[in-house]
């Protein structure tokens, strides 16, 4: 009877190979997980940054269209009410961690990572550069004195915090004060 001769890996070799592969895989996965964590952190930061940018950009864009400071009469610390040159109404509201925008009756979230404990605010600055008290709705007379809007927001997601404090100048204001006869 002819004796069969086995050529190839022995069992021991295979076990050793698998062990090495497992070690390499473990190391790789560990590195990948670490990299993934770093990436996710960066991504979160980026998302937070983008969200804050988008929120500020949207507010400033809509505020550019504010046709008259008279229309700020319904605004306060937590609410920014804008009426543009086509009489479209845009309403920004701070509700907890959410910043919502309501345009022509349709409400959408604009940001969902506002800092929960920080007092996020819309601030109103007069022509004399004084900050106007917005704890209650601005009266028509007070609203007519608003010259600048100041956004004072803090965004938080996981450990990432973005603090935004910026002035926005309504572009329309450079063309003069809108009166009732400017229809």
């Amino acid at each position: 009877m002819k004796k069969t001769i086995y050529s190839g890996f022995s069992f021991v070799e295979v076990v050793i190979s698998i062990a090495i592969a497992s070690v390499i895989s473990a190391l790789s996965i560990s590195m990948l997980l670490q990299g993934s964590d770093i990436f996710m952190d960066a991504k979160n930061d980026s998302r937070l940054l983008n969200e804050s940018r988008a929120a500020v950009w949207r507010i400033s864009r809509e505020l550019h269209n504010l046709s008259s400071n008279h229309f700020l009469a319904l605004s306060n610390d937590n609410r920014l009410y804008i009426k543009d040159a086509n009489s479209n109404q845009i309403d920004f509201k701070i509700a907890g961690k959410m910043l919502k925008v309501n345009r022509s009756g349709k409400e959408n979230p604009l940001a969902e990572f506002l800092h929960g404990t920080f007092k996020n605010k819309f601030k109103y600055v007069s022509t004399n550069n004084d900050t106007i008290n917005g704890s209650a709705n601005l009266s028509s007379v007070v609203a007519s004195e608003v010259n600048l809007l100041k956004i004072d927001f803090k965004f938080l997601k996981d450990d990432a915090i973005i603090d935004i404090e910026t002035h926005v100048y309504p572009y329309n204001f450079r063309f003069g004060r809108k009166m009732s006869y400017h229809d």
């Binding site: 086995y6 050529s7 190839g8 890996f9 069992f11 295979v14 190979s17 698998i18 592969a21 390499i24 895989s25 790789s28 990948l32 990299g35 993934s36 990436f39 991504k43 980026s46 983008n50 940018r53 988008a54 950009w57 864009r61 550019h64 269209n65 046709s67 008259s68 543009d84 040159a85 086509n86 007519s144 572009y171 329309n172 063309f175 003069g176 004060r177 809108k178 009166m179 009732s180 006869y181 400017h182 229809d183």
Partner: protein, 550 residues
Amino acid sequence: MINPILNRLKNNSGMALTASTMFIFIVLSIMAFYLARFAILDSASAANYIQNIRARNLVQTGLQVGLLKIENSYSSLGSAISGKLNKGSYNVLVDNNKDEKNSNLKYNHYSLLKSSSEIGGISRSARLIVSSYPNAFNLALFSKNQGNGTFSSNSSNSISGDLFFNGAISSVSMASNSVAYSSVESSSSPIVFHGFPLPSLPTLDHSTYTTLLNSVTGQFNSSNSSGQSGTSSRTVWNPNGGHCNVCKDDGDSNNRYACTNGYGGWSNSHSFNDFVPSGSTVNKITIRFKGATPCGGTWNIAPSVNGQVINSESWYGSRCSCNSCAVKDVVSANHTNGFPSYKYGASNSLTFSHSGARTCIGYVQVIIAHSASSTPGVGENETINLSNYSNKTLMHDGDLTLTGCNITGPGYVLASGNIIISGNTSIGGGVKIFSKKSIEINGSSTIGSSLTSYCTLYGTLGLNIKGSKAFGLFISSGSLLSLTNSTISGAVFSEASENTLSNITLNGSIVTKNNLSLTSSSIIKNSLPDLFGVNTGFKPSIIPGSYLEF
């Protein structure tokens, strides 16, 4: 049991190692791919945000370019202007009729200034509404009240649209939703303090008009002739019944006269009323004398009409004879355009001098040769097409009167004197009427036909419209603005010290430098003639609050 596995492993040498390596490689590749994808998306998001901001900045740059253009020349944006900046492009244009939603603009004199930009695939658009007129014309009524008067408008007047008065308002009657603004901070309802800044009186560049008026030369001669050609005569003095055949000796043998009733009765000053047919032009005047001269010499006689000497003639009388009265004609030169000093329709003065000490006159006749012709500066019942005039401009150096005429434009009617338009005269759109003195429109005349077919009137000393209908831009830079019993559509601008509106319906806007008086009038804020592409001396303005990104 284990042998088949081992056998299989031995038969596929390296398979397990390769497979596991490939598996790890594929997993790593997939993860790397996703990582890269996230990174790219994130990067694209950031880039998009930046491009958005850049595109918006560029669209505003486009608007700036447009504003600068229309400030210099409102018509320069008749076609779109494109430009490139910061690796993007912008396009800016003016639309006179529609807004960004393709809806009609609210007023005829509004235009849409639209700018669009594109950078890296991101597009942005923005617009402004521009008025052909300065800000004050956004009100139904604006008064700078330079003389510090008090404005009063009783219930016989109606004002629809806001008004601004720079001073105190004692009473005013406003339509609903209309506001009466005052510069007085302590104003009480229904008067409202305007707040600062106050609207200002527009600045008018008068050179737009004065340059043209200073170029006025020549005369306007109507194509319609009037009057009659021929000769007319009138005896203006007949002291001796036309007879002078009796000699008279005054005792001096050297001084004998041939006269009917003595040698006296000499008078060298007489008057006569115009007797030529109406509308005729006096070309030549003959003064006919019948009489006798002192005997024995040559004498000169020189008659004058209204101070202007007709001519000077020698008149010879033979000595010591009782002549029959001789006839002597003194004839003027021929004046094709009319005898200068002759007064039509009025009393004329005839004087004559004689170098003789005494002259007997049988009679004096004035014989006038006249022709049918037009009177310079007067147009009656005719059709005038301004395109038939040089530079489409009808000029007259003096007063210009147009009665019952039909004038079609476009073109100019310029006069260095007053312009009077009356008798159902009709003036078509596109006609600009400028006077170095005053303009008066009366007698149910019609000026323009609509806000798109309108006229421009500029009276240097004043503007008076009564009993007529007018569409257009009306400017009085003198001492008087008077609008009575008329319907006016358009813009009225007055620098006059006296402004009176009585029984007027004004659809549009009125802006005055001084106070104004309203009686039984109605002012309704409405569209004004669109001045796009027309130089009127006013600068356009931006409607505050009209900026919009879309």
